[in-house]
């Protein structure tokens, strides 16, 4: 830990200042502070406030990456100001000046403080973020498997800092999207065997046009989260459980799209795009394209389709005929499908729980590692 003994250095912070009540536009403000390089960006901001300008707005409390108050954007990337070292921040700056902005997708109250109530907390409330106990309530404690509780600790690690909300690219164009933090919270209860309302929760989130199927799978939240909650991964698990275990066919084409994709790869080995789209709307069979829903979609996409045909990008024959892999290989692919889809329980490796086994040196073995055994996701309690 030689770093901690490095002498103080000068760091320049460029902060985006804005006071909506002033009627002035946002502006950039620079201050040079002096601190040891291992100290945090938050400490830098607080020093600037103490030494140069008492009106700098920043929300903070614990200064130890656990309260989730000081979410900001540092050099364009979301994170906790108290969890980012000054020297690291300077290294990632384009011109050596650490640029600090308020988080995105939420209105600014003042400077670096955003309105978490208006966006983040409303969305969390939307997913009924409390346990609805199974009845009858047992006389003593509920019994839940150790495995299932370890599994949901990942979503329980969320500190509600809003970093994932800040950078959600679906929310950027569709502000009503329930979003990564709230949906990760939803998994916390869907994954909890003590909760009585898995079915209702999933139905609600699957049918909502701004629910689980509105996520664009961009990994922004995965990258933004300072606590490794993997919100997008939790959304994918909600989809998996909704579609496969609860057989929920949502009105947003989410389940149909997934089923059509998976079936087409089973049938042909490769994706057949011309068939995927109509099936996603009309249903997962060769007749899907004749459904009224598919017809309506076809008409609205006609300009793009005609243009593609006119350019020779897609030929009519090419679109009508799937490209396939050799027969022998297709049989192998199908046998993989049969074997895995035929399992009674899905076999799911969760690296958050198991860790990477071979990277640990032997000396560290037994130091709290949960071992490498894959966890299985129980489908117990699901209907059908």
């Amino acid at each position: 830990m030689a770093d901690t003994h490095r002498p103080p250095e000068e760091f320049t912070l460029r902060m985006l200042r804005y006071d909506p009540e002033s009627g002035e536009a946002p502006y950039w403000d620079e201050h040079t502070i002096t601190l040891e390089p291992h100290r945090s960006v938050l400490e830098g901001i607080l020093q600037a406030r103490a030494r140069f300008d008492g009106s700098i707005g920043i929300r903070c409390s614990c200064r130890a990456a656990i309260c989730g108050s000081c979410g900001v954007r540092i050099n364009g990337e979301p994170g906790l100001a108290c969890h980012t070292h000054l020297d690291h921040a300077r290294d990632s700056a384009t011109d050596g000046v650490i640029e600090i902005e308020p988080m995105g997708n939420m209105p600014v109250i003042k400077d670096l403080i955003v309105d978490m109530d208006a966006v983040h907390w409303k969305k969390v409330q939307r997913v009924t973020p409390w346990l609805i106990a199974k009845q009858p309530v047992p006389e003593r404690e509920y019994l839940a498997s150790h495995e299932s509780m370890v599994d949901i600790t990942q979503t329980m690690a969320c500190i509600q800092c809003g970093a994932c909300v800040s950078d959600c690219l679906a929310m950027e164009v569709d502000p009503g999207f329930i979003g990564p933090a709230a949906l990760a919270k939803a998994y916390r209860f869907v994954g909890d065997p003590r909760d009585a309302e898995h079915d209702a929760r999933l139905r609600d989130l699957a049918h909502d046009p701004q629910g689980i199927y509105d996520c664009t799978h961009c990994f922004k939240c995965v990258e933004a989260c300072p606590k490794d909650v993997n919100p997008m991964g939790q959304i994918m698990r909600l989809r998996r459980i909704a579609g496969s275990d609860f057989k929920i066919v949502d009105k947003n084409n989410g389940e149909r799209h997934e089923a059509a994709f998976t079936t087409l790869v089973r049938d042909h080995g490769l994706l057949w795009e011309a068939e995927l789209l109509p099936r996603s709307y009309g249903g997962n069979s060769r007749w899907g394209k004749f459904s009224p829903r598919a017809g309506k979609e076809l008409i609205s996409s006609l300009p793009a389709i005609l243009k593609a045909l006119a350019r020779g990008k897609v030929t009519a024959m090419g679109a009508l005929k799937p490209h396939k892999i050799p027969k022998r290989d297709l049989e192998s692919v199908r046998s993989i499908y049969d074997r895995i889809e035929g399992r009674e329980e899905r076999y799911e490796l969760n690296l958050y729980v198991t860790g990477h086994d071979e990277e640990e040196p032997t000396a560290a073995a037994g130091a709290g590692s949960a071992g490498s055994a894959p966890t299985t996701t129980s489908t117990e309690g699901s209907p059908g």
Binding site: L169, A170, E172, V173, D174, F177, Q210, Y213, D214, T216, H217, F219, K220, V222, E223, R240, G243, N252, N253, H257, E258, A259, F261, T262, V265, G269, L270, L271, E273, A274, S300, P303, A304, K307, A308, R311, G312, K313, G318, H323, I325, P326, D329, S332, V333, S335, I336, Y337, R339, I340, R343, L349, L351, T354, G355, H356, D357, E359, S372, P374
Partner: protein, 302 residues
Amino acid sequence: MMRVAYWPGCVSRGFTPELHGSMAKVAPLLDIELVELDRACCTGAGVIAEHNQELADTLNARTFALAQQVEGAEMMMNICSTCQGAQSECQERLDASAEYRAHVNETIAGEGLAYEKGLANKNFLWLLVEEIGLEELRSRVKRPLTNLKVGPFYGCYIVRPRNRLGIDAEHPRDHYLHDVIEALGGSVIEYAGVRKCCGFPIITMNKEASLKQAGRHLGDAVDAEADCLVTPCPLCHLNLDLQQPLAERAVGRQLQMPVLHLPQLVGLALGLEPKELGLTRHVVRPAAVIDWSTSVVGAAAA
């Protein structure tokens, strides 16, 4: 000559045939020998993993094992950001646990296949920079893309998450597209959408939001005065080019922004003709929109 096990993906042989075609034309000019993995199946593009993680891991382990059987191949190469991301996700799990790998290998053992930990799998973009090298690439340029203002569009799957994709200070893979454009003699245009989502994954679920994403990034590139965009992802290409007429309606403005596949941009600079690179097949034809008169490529494209 560098021999690679080549995974072209599905879309490059379906709705963006010009991508597969241009890669085949460009490879010999870079001394890359492509051994096509024609027995392998779709990566699942994240959708099969969403349905069943073990299924996606096993299908991709089969592809990895097939790649490892290609004699003399130094690595596996793909031309699709989404394939790269989907495969990297499966590979991360397979490489992390010997027990899990053994479990998955058991399923493909019937075919005489087994995946061994540690396959190198690189998108053409990574291979260009890390294996061929920017200097070498520069030395092979016949028609520098002088005065061509190119906006990079990476595609989410190839830039996030950084750890899984091996992006760090030594391998700034999320900057390679910038480096390649410059090596080819073009000018890089920075705009807000460089590393954002094209919207394609939700085109069937929320078409309006999907097209708004595509339209917004294209519009930002127009405002930044880009002549064209370049992408290593055919799925991004579908939303940015094929759907551009609809994206224009979604954002209420004219866009007319040509989008090139990475091998097409490389091919132009290496002296190939726009037509043989399939540029005439795009919905927004680069030759019709770009002011080629100020570019060295101009004469060829006119």
